[in-house]
Symmetry: C2
Subunit: 235 residues, 2 copies
């Protein structure tokens, strides 16, 4: 068993090295990268499409779509919205890793991009362990998933910078205690920025979009020096 | 890399061996086992609680709860419903495996059980690869997850015997094309038994419960010889 553990440690260390290289490439091109993680069906692609619609006149966006299967449903939606999208088919694997993103970066014409959005594979467990080299980690939760998810899947909430609770339009039809959900999140990650929104109605989207735009501007103006260093607590 | 693949094959083969042992133990005790897999928040525990309520006067049930974290939210609910529950904390791991179930079986007093329900970790990808030794695999999908999930996460649908589409009470509020969903499932698994239900309203639950009860009765009457053999296509 210790041999297997050792192999896993080697893989994680190699992943961190490649993630650092990805971060350096993004920094060199002036591209802010965000890694969006969520359970299947929480609305990752819907949030991305809403974000594109809100920001496409102000920022140059590009999207990487992580999928476990070769279907390009999400990538097609992004392209239909007028953006560049690169699909990574993980071939059944349950998460993206830094090497997969490294292989996608040359397709992205980074010199013409301000904000790179990476949509990770739908999974609340495995993506938490693999840094990609992006600057911010974002988790999207959704009301129908239930208010107990931070208690049941704590690891994914620990290393993130922002949390979106999507599908708040369904709150009238579902038992969901926002205070209980928030308490669980704050236990794990007291400094998290928290957005509640609905991609269906548009409610709450502006706060998320303005926060994201401000992060890109601060990054490009070098106002947040941490973003230009490789910090191991960021992924 | 070939060395690592070899290790993985060894692990999978060892897992199949332990799964066959689990199946033999269940068969010896006359216990039908089902493995319930789903995305986080699809309603696995709610379906189990509804199933307990419907069957507890007719069948002796026991539940194994797979969790990635030490919280016992789901196990507590099952115990509050008057059933025996054993929790398996995977310690962050993304799926149950046969060895974890083997370690739980001695806690279950199998001689006093007709139906063992195993609630796998909430994950639409990883549990598909690991047989547990149970007789039937069931996936629970839910309306808010979206109708495209069979196309995006095909592997989990391939080896299963029954599919439940939960939360149909939310159909009026969500764009979900049941025909599109069904076509995706049938492409992958034409022989699947398909139930649509709502744990909230109770609609559709009876068909699922009656099917499950009939499976237990047929198993205990030795009417389905396949269930008493170890078949590699079952998990």
């Amino acid at each position: 068993m210790s041999k297997i553990v050792h192999v896993v440690e080697d893989i994680m260390s190699a992943n961190d090295d490649v993630a650092a290289q990805n971060r350096a490439k993004l920094n060199g091109a002036g591209v802010l990268g965000i890694n969006i993680m969520a359970s299947p069906g929480s609305g990752k692609t819907s949030v991305i499409l809403r974000t594109i619609a809100a920001l496409k006149d102000e920022l140059r966006l590009s999207v990487v779509e992580g999928d476990t299967a070769p279907v390009s449903i999400d990538a097609d939606k992004v392209i239909a919205a007028g953006m560049t999208a690169v699909q990574i088919n993980t071939g059944g694997n349950c998460h993206l890793d830094a090497n997969m993103l490294r292989q996608a970066l040359p397709e992205l014409l980074l010199g013409q991009v301000d904000l790179l959005i990476v949509e990770n594979v739908g999974n609340l467990i495995c993506p938490a362990g693999f840094k990609l080299g992006t600057h911010f980690n974002v988790v999207i939760a959704s009301v129908p998933e239930g208010d107990d998810k931070p208690y049941k899947y704590p690891n994914i909430y620990r290393g993130i910078d922002a949390l979106i609770l999507n599908k708040i339009d369904l709150l009238p039809y579902i038992d969901f205690d926002i205070d209980y959900f928030k308490r669980g999140v704050q236990l794990l990650n007291p400094n998290l920025i928290f957005f509640t929104l609905s991609c269906k109605t548009g409610e709450g989207l502006d706060a998320w979009v303005q926060w994201l735009k401000a992060r890109v501007r601060a990054f490009q103006a070098h106002e947040d020096s941490r973003l230009h260093e490789w910090a191991h607590h960021h992924a």
